[in-house]
Symmetry: D2
Subunit: 365 residues, 4 copies
């Protein structure tokens, strides 16, 4: 099978490096174009990047010549473009690519709140991709050129939060109240300069700029539904769900821990065993579609009383599996639990790759 | 002024070492007796202890001969006994001392739930000490010997939690709902062996045995009132306040961070500015009594958006001051905020010392 | 091809867990027997172990019934026995297995200094195995039963140290003076209790019991040669090489960093480029033999000025490759450099597995 | 007694903040002027700084208006100027102040190698200050205006290294060979951005730009003597002492650990007990002069086998005392030992303050 050609925007950054690692030896995609700032353009990738991943820089990427982030050059041949751009630049560049007819899967926040841009955790709400699928199908049917589009990856801490919620909502109806306190890894902050050592050594920083607002807002889009016209989304309203997040940075390299608590609208709420069973039984569509990166178990329900832990559990299903532990009754709401998700896999670049796999499986790219 | 003689039970342990440090050059107390296991008894303290404090082992303690934990020997002369005993031993030993007529201030959990034992955060609910004051006064009045008693220090994470609550309840009436997610320091776990390095290096452990239950229960006793007979306490009922705690161990040496959220019974609730003002204005009784260790500011209301942080704020008022930051409206309950308290000072040994200072100021010892 | 049956002694400990992980899906070996203390014996492994590895407990091990560490039961069928026993127990148990005719590959220190026990880093001095090969061959030739034997894995920090030395000695003759200061990971300390969190959080412990002596002594055996009779080893004498080690524990999970400095006997010494070239060109015998775990590159010579780093480089060649960086002239001796090795792979269990692969490739087992 | 007026250059940076903390309530100096970049100039200090110290921002500094770093304005009144400037700016600014007649004590590296600039660890080689003392005395005698001068604080890791060396050289004559491997704290890297969290979480960085060269060179100046003309220094030559340093950054907030090894010229070398005794007996001149910050014990010789440790020992004598432990014979050189020094006190700002105290005691300022 011919592999789709993939480009990476923001290739020297933290998220860009992760995209490159995940594309190595991928059965569906081959790395073809790398975009970065004009400072890096013209250099071989290995000379342009300060590689900071625990996996080695893939040989296949070493000698690709970095280009500026424009829909031309090697990018012109790409079937899909992954964006790890900083939000300072993502707005204009991603728009340029979309307008030039490219499929863009972006980790930046810029377009997440656009009415016609899907905001997707691929193991959780891949059905939101249907609005781009429709656009592509309609264009084909009309004999028009394939339209460009942007799909946004959710915020890293939102990804972990919605993972257990979606199956629960599907099974038991709306969640009315939701609180989440996060203990977030530093890899989410990138590394230019990222979290200073002095901030996480023997310390906690109880604040991440913009993060709480993102979690509270994005949850309402992801748990919402595609609208009837299949061209946008019916977000949950503040009346339907109230969400409160408190975000902390802690001394963890990878893996966001979230202590969440929720109250169902349904009275009486489902039993503890029902909650666990629904999470255990959940199988994501990506797995059903046979996507390469799809987790064999989307949600791991752990019964040990001191789990999940980032060091021990973040790599389940190569980081695409989310772990949920300590599910127990909550004296204030209905249930509380601890969720662990790998912030650079299911919470960032990894989700981008799996989204692309779904788009390919559905012939959208 | 003649100093009161102080004894320390469990003197070689983590809490015992802290008591010894805090008693160094104390104007009210002098270290007189040290109790530990029979393995240590008979040795000079400096030979019995593996000293793990950042402050050096006080000269005054070095050569005190360690004794077994019995109300005799050097302990016989003590006016007050501080207990840093493990709960495995505290039950029997503290009872023996109390029955022998000693004033015991204990960090162990064993007697916290006893109806006639005050559970005290000295900057928050020192009025609970009135029941032992009464017992002592009554005995004096009746010409009887001074009765022994036990006063318990609260759990370390409870101490930080109740600090801002008490002034708020006093000002605005009952809190109905309360949630707290903690990020707790490892010093709270002692060091025999304490938290293993492998558990906190690049990791979070989302579980501390018994801790959530302690926080939920102790809050109801500390926020409750002394009963009319002044011989026990009217605990808050589950109907009056629902409390939910989620406890995590993180890579911090000292200082518990707690993300809390609360809902007042009063509708509409007080304004954000009212909440802050009450906390800022709170002055603890210990300060009014002129106690040596009393914080000049009991609650520090921080306005920077990324504070409090353990490394930067735990030592305010020598660890007796509690910092509260990020006070803001909560979409689910009324307000959320971040509380930081020094777990070995206001959360453990330090509270014991300040309790003793109050008891002395009130002529109970 | 029929896999050899493998047993693991000390199966619930840190090293035992690593053996089990490395044996999962191994082409040469299948896990067959698990030995632990009488407290664990009789239980399914998953119920006996507190699993602390980042890789999940292999399914194949979960339900093996743990036995006591005796050469009977399931162990009776084993072709090879890996020992992760504590030195408190290893002495007697390993002797029992050897006397009962078993091939024992041990991580314990007990027999490392025995004259007829090879002390082996499998990528460095596999020729030391020839003395057990001879014993087995001789027995076969004489029609006798296969004799039991013990092979010892070197100390974890010795393994990293000797890796670059051996090729240099082979190429340029003796090293006269050798100093090494280590920055060692905590995984080397096991986890019962292992390094306490309080010792490595914002701290360095400049001492590891017995470690410096092990490094200084073991280097002389490993760099020595098999004697002429092929039944023992000619150790380097103190006159031939002087070794000085200083060992520190630091806040790293896996991967020992060693700052080493050396002086060749040869005057003038080889050039900097010659030193690098020899290290780059070194190919280990295990790779030539086609052993499954052998590294494709035994020694990685890094040219970046800030490498190797544990987080970035410890997993090269699955932890079997050793990284050497910052090779540069030394004002005091001849050259200094930084060596990084994965302490639980090439420094412990991983070496045991590769030793067994070599033994199998040579028909010793 | 009237306090001398002190200015701080680079007041918003890491070292500047430390100067400000140390000047709080100082008996000899009062903070009078604060200099920073034009971006900060004109603001109250509390609005210009991001305060990152564990001690709170002193009230006395809060409202001082920050100025540009010019020898005018409030600086015009200063008796002494402490510089925490980045080396990018220190060269010109410090020269301007010196030329304008100011006494400048600098933490920057720019003038350390100037022939007529003393490079001083105040507890170790305060006699190097005699050349500025002479210049000032000569000017006074000649009825001229007091001349400006610069005194440089040594590099932080050099300070710890030379501390035990100086008393040994004084007692036993030259040290011929010296090796040092450092494990350095992150506070030495400042915080704009300082060491990234990702570099020190579960990691070691075996490289600090320029550091090894500084240690090797500065040692030769500090252990050298004032020349006969008392206007410069006779540095030790490479023939007199060979020094080799290897520098690592580790996950420690404050406190540099150094594993050092040395060989005396004297044969046979002094005994182990003689070495210890000389270190124990060393009393620094600053203590004899009664300087406020001088340590009561300059060098603490620790006998416990696992000390010194940064967390436990860095604050001895408020960070002005250096701890030396594990003194033992070295198989390669004569003796090896572990040295711990507080890198922001004796290794940086603290030394600056103590140098100024000495200058004041000697009427140089």
């Amino acid at each position: 099978m011919v592999k789709k050609k993939a480009g990476v925007l923001g290739a020297t950054g933290s998220v860009g490096q992760r995209f490159i690692l995940l594309l190595e030896n991928h059965p569906d995609f081959e790395l073809h174009a790398l975009g970065a700032s004009s400072r890096s353009a013209g250099k071989a990738y290995k000379d342009a990047v300060v590689w900071k991943q625990t996996g080695l820089l893939p040989k296949s990427a070493e000698n690709i010549q970095v280009e500026e982030c424009k829909p031309e050059g090697r990018f012109a041949d790409c079937d899909i473009v992954f964006s790890g751009l900083d939000s300072d630049y993502a707005g204009e560049i991603e728009k340029n690519f979309r307008d030039a007819g490219f499929a863009v899967v972006s980790n930046a926040k810029n377009y997440r709140r656009e009415p016609d841009v899907p905001l997707v955790v691929p193991t959780i709400n891949p059905e939101h991709l249907s609005i781009v699928e429709k656009r592509v199908t309609d264009a084909k049917a009309a004999g028009k050129q394939k339209p460009g589009f942007i799909v946004c990856i959710s915020n890293c801490s939102t990804a972990g939060l919605v993972a257990p919620l979606k199956p629960l909502v599907d099974a038991f109806g709306p969640i009315e109240l939701l609180t989440a306190t996060t203990l977030q890894a530093i890899s989410g902050a990138g590394f230019s300069p990222g979290t200073p050592g002095i901030d996480i050594l023997d310390n906690v920083v109880p604040y991440i700029s913009g993060e709480e607002d993102k979690m509270e807002w994005e949850t309402k889009k992801i748990l919402g539904k595609v609208n009837k016209q299949n061209d946008g989304f019916d977000l949950l309203s503040d009346d339907e769900i109230k969400v409160s997040a408190q975000c902390n940075r802690v001394a963890v390299s990878d893996g966001h821990t979230e202590c969440i608590s929720l109250k169902f609208a349904k009275r009486p709420p489902p039993s503890l065993e029902q909650v666990k069973q629904v999470l255990r039984d959940y199988e994501c569509d990506a797995a059903k579609l046979g996507c390469y990166s799809a987790p064999s178990q989307t949600i791991h329900v752990l019964e040990e009383n001191d789990r999940p832990q980032p060091r021990l559990d973040r790599n389940r299903d190569n980081g695409y599996g989310v772990s949920v532990g300590r599910i127990r009754p909550d004296p204030v709401l209905d249930y509380k639990m601890v969720v662990l998700s790998h912030n650079t896999v299911i919470g960032a670049a990894g989700s981008g790759i799996l989204i692309a796999e779904i788009l390919k499986a559905k012939n959208v790219i």
